[in-house]
């Protein structure tokens, strides 16, 4: 049953089945979950437990085989590719494991990318990105290309890119996996700060113990199904 009130993302009996060498592989099995605005949630579980697949279902990167997914109360299960693109642009921010900044753009241009696609005027874009860079401690890196940034700096730019459009939901897949512990800790500080100050909803797929320690809620997956859902 769905509780009353607006959610950042929710699913109802959602399944994702892949065809692999003629075999049906159930990556996500009947997951029903709701994540409220402002939550800081970790999807945890061993490799192959379905964390990333569930995250991709939240982000409209996979379509459910069965069941339904809502983002910001919009049913995205059957949206067209065009509408999914618009949904990702307007309501979802992504942070990927391998930074995934565009190498041909500067840090500022990377961060303002979604605003640019939304048609936000240049001065407004710049103002918002600079304010965010200031907040997350990369104020002097505007004009640098990703190749001139450290891993931690790149991931902060990626976080800035994900949150600058004030999305309903930020999905982060192993955001600290490629960082050393210092950079990882600093990045988690940034995301915790953004969650607390801006109310940004974060959903992580991770093995990172430090990240799990900071999470307000941990949803554990085993074999594609929810094994536990704990708030802490």
């Amino acid at each position: 049953m769905i509780e009353n009130g607006r959610t950042a993302v929710r699913t109802e009996d959602v399944w994702k089945i892949f065809e692999h060498d003629g075999m049906a592989v159930e990556a996500v099995r009947g997951v029903t979950v709701r994540i409220d605005p402002g939550e800081f949630v970790v999807l945890a579980g061993p490799s192959g437990s379905g964390k990333t697949t569930l995250l991709n279902l939240f982000g409209g990167l996979h379509r459910p085989s069965r069941g339904r997914v809502w983002v910001d109360e919009q049913d995205i299960s059957d949206l067209s590719e065009h509408d999914l693109s618009r949904l990702r642009l307007m309501r979802i921010g992504f942070v990927f494991q391998a930074y995934n900044l565009l190498p041909i753009l500067t840090a500022l241009e990377n961060a303002e990318f979604s605003l640019l696609l939304r048609g936000v005027p240049a001065d407004e874009r710049e103002r918002r990105v600079r304010a965010l860079f200031e907040k997350i401690g990369i104020a002097n890196l505007d004009d640098r290309r990703p190749s001139k940034l450290s891993g931690g700096q790149q991931q902060r730019v990626a976080v800035a890119r994900a949150v600058v459009g004030e999305p309903a939901l930020v999905l982060a897949d192993e955001p600290t996996a490629n960082l050393d512990s210092a950079a990882s800790g600093a990045l988690l500080d940034v995301m915790t700060q953004l969650n607390e100050e801006l109310g940004t909803t974060f959903v992580f797929a991770t093995h990172d113990q430090e990240l799990m320690a900071r999470a307000k809620r941990i949803v554990r997956l085993v074999d594609g199904a929810i094994a536990s859902d704990q708030r802490q």
Binding site: F96, L117, G119
Partner: protein, 422 residues
């Protein structure tokens, strides 16, 4: 405010710049390809123009004004009346046509029998104006012996060298020309050989005689009537325009019609078209190579950037935007390379080879085709329409060659692309 399209152009430019070496190498191939296209097409256009001019000089010009039924029988009954010839010449003197016309020469063409004490052979006798002929025909420059006709000549003939040999004629020898007169009686004309020519075309050298037009008109009793007004233009491309103007000027009373050279010399037109066809095949192969270079470069760029294109999609770029991005990359690369290639082609063609390519070392004797003597020095010709065609073609090639890579870009699955390590 930067539009989505502006963003895609910026991304495309930066992607090309990022892979500068690959872009430059591909662009270089395209630049050379287009330069070669411009060069060969300009040489081809120049060669055709020379070829056409040579052909129509030996025939009846780029445009011919004749009586409506003159072709194909070419009989004296179907001659052009003096009034029609005058109307044509008056129209050609008008300010809109005069600049296009190199020379307009009335001619009287007669089928005749040429007799000497050693025999008789059928010939074509051209009554020509000796003052205009040097500017019109190449034959005056192909003198073997004696001289060409002069304005003061009355009973002189300029004879093909083969014909002179067949009739054992020497300079000053007399030859009797026999033809049907205007009144259907048989008329004779005695002329003396003033000179002989060798055109290189056997049918001309063995069977053509030039005599003054006044002599020819008096011989067959046609007054000031002629067979045709042969008009030589500065450019064959103006033929249709001159025909249209002359047709309007001559009216539709059925006394005279203006015909372009493809109608009066269809064999020459066919030969040019056949040569054009060969050139088109060559150009097609050239453009195909350029297209493959573009497909290769852009497709490699797409495959190498699978993850990046996945990121763009995850950030909200639509499928069609990724296709547009790839199309922009291909089209920008092609357009820039196309313009540089056109510039290089023009520079080489009209800077280095403006005086022509001399092929005479590769061919001994006269080169003839379709009733024309081919000049072995091929001078390039600049044609704006062909130049624009080249650029438009290369642009189209750029777009078409980018379609497959663009389609591939739209097929990228975002979640899969994120796993891509390329």
């Amino acid at each position: 405010m930067m539009t989505r399209l502006g963003l895609l152009v910026r991304l495309a430019l930066r992607n090309l710049r990022r892979q500068a070496r690959r872009s430059v190498l591909t662009a270089s191939a395209m630049v050379l390809g287009l330069a070669l296209l411009v060069f060969t097409r300009s040489i081809g256009d120049g060669a055709h123009e020379t070829w056409i001019k040579a052909g129509v000089r030996l025939a009846s010009g780029h445009v011919t004004v004749v009586a409506p039924d003159y072709l194909p029988r070419r009989t004296i009954e179907d001659r052009l009346r003096a009034a029609g010839a005058r109307a044509a010449l008056d129209a050609l003197a008008r300010s809109d046509l005069a600049p296009l016309v190199e020379i307009a020469a009335p001619r009287l063409e007669l089928r005749a029998l040429a007799s000497s004490p050693r025999g008789a052979v059928p010939v074509v006798v051209y009554g020509v104006d000796p003052t205009l002929e040097p500017a019109f025909s190449q034959l005056t420059t192909r003198l073997v012996e004696g001289r060409a006709l002069l304005a003061s000549d009355r009973l002189h003939a300029y004879v093909g060298v083969g014909l002179a040999q067949r009739l054992h004629l020497r300079l000053g020898d007399r030859v009797v020309l026999t033809a049907q007169g205007a009144d259907s009686t048989i008329a004779d004309q005695l002329v003396r050989v003033a000179g002989t020519f060798r055109s290189g075309l056997p049918e001309v050298d063995d069977g053509v005689i030039h005599i003054p037009i006044a002599t020819a008109q008096a011989w067959v009793g046609v007054g000031d009537d002629v067979s045709a007004v042969a008009i030589l233009l500065h450019s064959s491309r103006d033929a249709d325009r001159v025909v249209r103007s002359l047709t309007a000027a001559l009216g539709t009373d059925g006394t005279a019609v203006a015909l372009p050279w493809p109608t009066t010399t269809p064999e020459l037109d066919s030969a040019v078209k056949l040569d054009d066809y060969g050139n088109y095949v060559f150009h097609f192969v050239l453009l195909l190579i350029v297209a493959l270079a573009i497909v290769n470069t852009i497709l490699m760029a797409v495959l190498a950037r699978t993850r990046e294109l996945g990121i763009l999609r995850a950030l909200g770029l639509r499928r069609r935007d990724t296709a547009t991005l790839v199309l922009f990359e291909g089209t920008l690369l092609t357009t820039v390379a196309g313009l540089l290639g056109a510039a290089l082609g023009l520079a080489v063609t009209f800077g280095i080879f403006r005086d022509g390519l001399d092929f005479s070392a590769f061919y001994s004797g006269e080169m003839t085709a379709a009733g024309a003597i081919i000049d072995l020095i091929m001078i390039p010709e600049f044609r704006l329409d062909h130049m624009l065609q080249n650029v438009v073609w290369i642009f189209i090639i750029g777009v078409v060659a980018s379609l497959y890579p663009a389609w591939r870009a739209t097929r990228i699955e975002i979640a899969e692309a994120m796993k891509f390590e390329g």
